[in-house]
């Protein structure tokens, strides 16, 4: 038939045929094909023959030959059967199903929130063309030996040097966030928010595109502006905006481009882009000294780089390190370390200040993630617990199935399917709940509201679906394994095997875990609420109301002070080197004259108005007097320092001398009451006010509280008049303080809500268990009753087990949450609430109460039941 060498057909094709073809046909077909194959080899050659063989195999993909058909029919039949029995079993045990579904739905709604939140955050900034190659330069600022502070910005100098000196960068853009103001065009004024951007903006951040204009040249020349579509319509209506001239903050700009609206999931957003050259020219005019090009000028400028393909970010980082080493030598006290940050790790990313737009801490994200996982686990425990408990009732069904021929796998999948049906039902309710709680969640924190919209997209629903199937698998796994392992003989005898009893302990453990978690949540919520109220109401030792602190930024203090004093609503003006309560400060070693003791003394240089303005209480002595000259003579110390040097009373300290190491010898002229110099989480330090005429960084204004808005405007215009073009930077004291402690408020809202949810879930679970126990022991109770047991003793008998579990849960949760807050969350805080019996046990009491009511309602019903009724049948 054929000559020459014998050839084997392609092995993969043979294997494929064996895989899909009915076993009865395989041998025949494969044989025929192989015969054909060898004929083909002689006729057409090996290559064509192989190709023809493959083709022939594929042609056999016809219904008559495919194996699956045969198997699928049984599978569909079994699936239908599982589905039917599952639905019936769910319907038969309405109460238990309801408990499961409600518990799962509540916790799932929280998880859905989390899923939509996380998936939205991770979609950020992915719309640019090469997100992996885009990086931004951020800075870590270190003041003396303090903890370095992360800043999202960097200096213009860094950007310029990177452009000029460092290879491997395809393009880079320098941005400044201060391009905002009123734009006017023919008597029409519109307020715009935007950025100054250098020419390569659209090259680096390629996700932003121009609808009109040339992306390469739009930001090239001075006084050019690019508007977003929306901003252009606001200003020009339907007229064409291109080439028109508008005035922004009294500077004429020509519109050179219309940009597409930046997507919501971009951490940078803008309504207008001004060309960076314009800004640089402005800066050059304002300050002849070239201040704006200083290494330390970190605050409002951002640098984004598009690296060359194949450039390792590490090599750019190395150049940055070298640059900072050079530049840090030239400056005093401060150190600045620039660092490269990938675009994809900005949102969510590390906590940084001076963000260009939206920001979200990744630590917040992981905390929320852990908390929601705990919540969903609690609900899954409920399902596991109740299903295992009710395994009894299902054992006959399983026994019959096994006798008829079901194998372990089939029983396993049956119960998994049941769990998935429950969790899908729960998903429907959870989606409704999700829409209910979504607005609340968005309101928790302004940061959340800025970052997410949580609009349900089809992809999101797909995630939800996958999630709920996963939850079903998770919740159903343990019961399915347990039930599929039942021996048919045992199952049919209806005698609970010893295995079943050992599961009881497992169930108890799960209940204990649930209640421990609920207790931890409720205790945490109580403690953080107390700490927040404590922190906000804490007496710092000085006045914080209506005090505005303006950063001098090197502007002549006397000139500014005179300008501010002229404003009628400014009651007092005081200058200082530093601010109270900012967390950092200078310190020096000091000794008391005639004493061997030395101490670190924190100090602040102030003028004679500072102590009255801040309303520090002088315990002895007097305030500084206005004195010209730079020679330092006197100091005002705090009580803490007195104690350190063993001076009995404030008045005894007056006129003693303090020697500063490598510094002057100062006479103590006053003693102030202790106050919080750094922040309330830290100890009160040894502290001294020193007097100086010149070393001031801040001007503090005590404002008249009526009509603060107008006053602020006046203060700002007064500043602009004297400040040589420096930005006006001012902040109210009390606002600053409140934002410092708002974290406690956010913690207690979130934890409180989660506590509510876990408690509801745990109580639902407890209710289920109590009902179940009461049901199964109904006959036993009746017999006991007939023999003379009192109702009270029966309730005690039934409830004892549960009360034990609650007690154990409390025993675990109370020390754990005490430890958590005492040694972790609040451990750094010095001024904090003491965690006492009330904080720890009010939650425990609450949960015990709910638990007792739940158990008692069920056991009481059972204990009251009429034995004649329950024992009649059988």
């Amino acid at each position: 038939m054929h000559q020459g060498k014998y050839h084997t057909p392609p092995i993969l094709a043979q294997r494929f045929l064996r895989w899909f073809c009915k076993p009865a046909l395989v041998e025949d077909i494969a044989g025929d094909l192989e015969e054909d194959f060898n004929d083909f080899v002689t006729d057409y050659g090996l290559g064509r023959a192989r190709y023809k063989y493959w083709l022939a195999v594929i042609r056999f993909l016809k219904p008559f030959a495919i194996k699956k058909i045969h198997i699928t029919t049984t599978q569909t039949i079994m699936f239908k059967n599982y589905f039917k029995t599952s639905i019936r079993s769910i319907a038969r045990n309405r109460l238990f199903s309801a408990i499961n579904i409600i518990g799962l739905a509540i916790s799932m709604s929280v998880c859905l929130l989390m899923i939509s939140f996380i998936s939205e955050l991770f979609s950020y900034d992915k719309f640019h063309e090469n997100p992996d190659r885009i990086h931004r330069v951020i800075s870590y600022e270190q003041f003396l030996q303090n903890e370095p502070q992360g800043v999202a910005a960097t200096s213009i100098l860094t950007g310029k040097r990177l452009q000029a000196e460092v290879p491997g960068i395809e393009a880079s853009v320098i941005l400044n966030r201060r391009f905002a103001g009123d734009a006017s065009f023919q008597n029409k004024t519109v307020s715009l928010k935007g950025l100054w951007a250098s020419k390569s903006f659209f090259e680096v951040l390629s996700g932003f595109t121009l609808l009109q204009g040339n992306a390469e040249t739009a930001l090239l020349s001075p006084n050019s502006v690019v508007l977003t579509e929306e901003a252009a319509t606001r200003i020009f209506g339907t007229a064409n905006a291109m080439g028109q001239t508008i005035e922004i903050r009294s500077i004429p700009f020509t519109v050179t481009g219309i940009a597409k609206q930046p997507p919501f999931n971009s951490h940078i957003s803008f309504e207008a882009l001004g060309s960076m050259v314009t800004y640089e020219n402005m800066l050059k005019q304002r300050s002849k000294s070239g201040n704006w090009l200083k290494w330390t000028n970190v605050g409002n400028d951002y640098v984004y780089l598009l690296l060359d393909e194949g450039t390792e970010p590490g090599s750019i980082q190395a150049s940055l390190d070298k640059m900072s080493e050079e530049e840090n030598l030239k400056i005093d006290r401060f150190k600045i370390y620039p660092e490269l940050q990938a675009l994809t790790s900005i949102m969510p990313g590390p906590a940084l200040s001076n963000n260009i737009g939206k920001s979200m801490d990744s630590s917040i994200l992981s905390t929320l993630f852990i908390l929601t996982t705990i919540v969903i686990l609690c609900a899954a425990f409920n399902y596991t617990n109740l299903s295992v408990a009710r395994a009894f009732k299902r054992s006959k069904e399983i026994g019959v199935r096994k006798v008829v021929g079901a194998n372990k796998g089939q029983i396993f999948w049956q119960f998994i399917l049941e769990a998935i049906i429950i969790s899908l039902t729960a998903l429907c309710i959870a989606i409704l709940l999700f829409y209910l709680i979504r607005p609340e969640f968005l309101n928790i924190d302004p940061m959340v509201q800025q970052a997410t919209k949580m609009i349900a997209t089809p992809a999101l629903f797909a995630y939800f679906l996958v999630f709920s199937v996963f939850v079903g698998l998770m919740a159903g796994f343990f019961p399915a394994v347990h039930l599929s392992k039942l021996k048919s003989t045992n199952a049919l005898k209806n005698a609970p095997g010893s295995g079943l009893l050992s599961r009881m302990n497992m169930r108890k453990v799960l209940v204990v875990i649930q209640f421990s978690l609920s207790l931890i949540f409720i205790i945490s919520a109580t403690i953080s609420f107390k700490q927040y109220k404590y922190a906000v109401a804490f007496d710092l030792g000085y006045n914080t109301e209506n005090i505005l602190s303006v950063r001098l930024q090197g502007v002549d203090p006397t000139k500014v002070a005179t300008a501010f004093e002229a404003i009628p609503a400014v009651n007092q003006v005081a200058r200082s080197f530093d601010l109270n309560g900012l967390g950092n400060g200078d310190r020096t070693r000091v000794t008391l004259e005639n004493s061997a003791d030395s101490a670190y003394l924190y100090y602040n240089f102030v003028d004679e108005n500072f102590i009255p303005l801040m309303e520090h209480k002088l315990l002895a002595g007097a305030n500084f007097e206005s004195r010209p000259g730079s020679r330092e003579e006197s100091i005002i110390i705090n009580e803490r320092t007195l104690r350190k040097f063993n001076i009995e009373s404030p008045s005894a300290a007056i006129d003693q001398y303090i020697q500063l190491i490598r510094g002057p010898r100062l006479r103590i002229i006053g003693v102030v009451e202790d106050f919080v110099y750094t922040d309330i989480s830290r100890n009160i330090h040894h502290f001294g006010f020193r007097y100086s005429n010149s070393r001031h960084n801040y001007i503090n204004l005590k404002l008249n509280p009526s009509d603060l808005v107008r006053t602020m405007e006046r203060v700002e215009s007064a500043w602009n008049a004297v400040a040589d073009g420096k930005e006006f930077q001012a902040e109210f004291y009390d606002q600053k303080l409140q934002s410092t402690y708002s974290q406690y408020a956010t913690i207690y809202t979130i934890v409180g809500f989660l506590a509510f949810i876990t408690i509801s879930i745990a109580v639902l679970g407890l209710l289920g268990m109590a009902i179940y126990t009461a049901e199964t022991r109904l006959k036993e109770i009746s017999v006991r009753k007939i023999l003379g047991a009192s109702e009270a003793s029966l309730v005690k008998l039934l409830a004892r087990g549960f009360i034990w579990m609650l007690a154990i849960a409390a025993l675990i949760a109370v020390p754990l949450s005490y430890y958590l807050f005492d040694s972790v969350v609040l451990s750094e805080s010095v001024n904090r609430i003491s965690i006492g019996i009330t904080e720890l046990f009010s939650g425990v009491l609450f949960i015990f109460l709910i638990g007792f009511v739940t158990i008692a309602s069920q056991t009481w019903k059972t204990a009251k039941s009429n034995p004649a009724q329950t024992l009649r049948s059988e």
């Binding site: 054929h2 014998y6 084997t8 094909l33 015969e35 060898n38 042609r59 056999f60």
Partner: protein
């Protein structure tokens, strides 16, 4: 009577099996059919037909000896059952009957 309906291709396959007598298996049937009809018959189509015929009970099959040219696989020889022969005969009778009643005019053989 859908179950016993004999399609045109199936009829051809049955007849080929009869013609081939003792040597009717996949490859030979295909070759025979191919050469007689001049049609290019695919393996898949042939096996579909064989499976249907088997389901209807018109053919039976048994395995022969293993051969090297089939990679050590056995040949599956097909035989037409009595039922199959009957079906063929019925089909032939039906056709003959119809042929006999066709008016000569219609055939253009006046």
């Amino acid at each position: 009577m859908k179950g016993t309906y004999l399609g045109e291709f199936q009829e051809l396959v049955l007849l080929t099996i009869l013609v081939l007598a003792e040597n009717a298996y996949g490859v030979t049937i295909q070759d025979e059919l191919g050469s007689r009809t001049g049609r290019n018959i695919s393996r898949g189509a042939l096996h579909t037909a064989l499976t249907r015929l088997d389901e209807k009970g018109f053919i039976t099959s048994e395995y022969g000896g293993a051969t090297a040219e089939r990679g050590g696989r056995r040949k599956r020889f097909y035989k037409v059952t009595n039922q199959g022969t009957k079906a063929l005969e019925e089909s032939k009778t039906l056709r003959d009957q119809l042929w006999s009643e066709v008016p000569k005019v219609a055939l253009g053989k006046s």
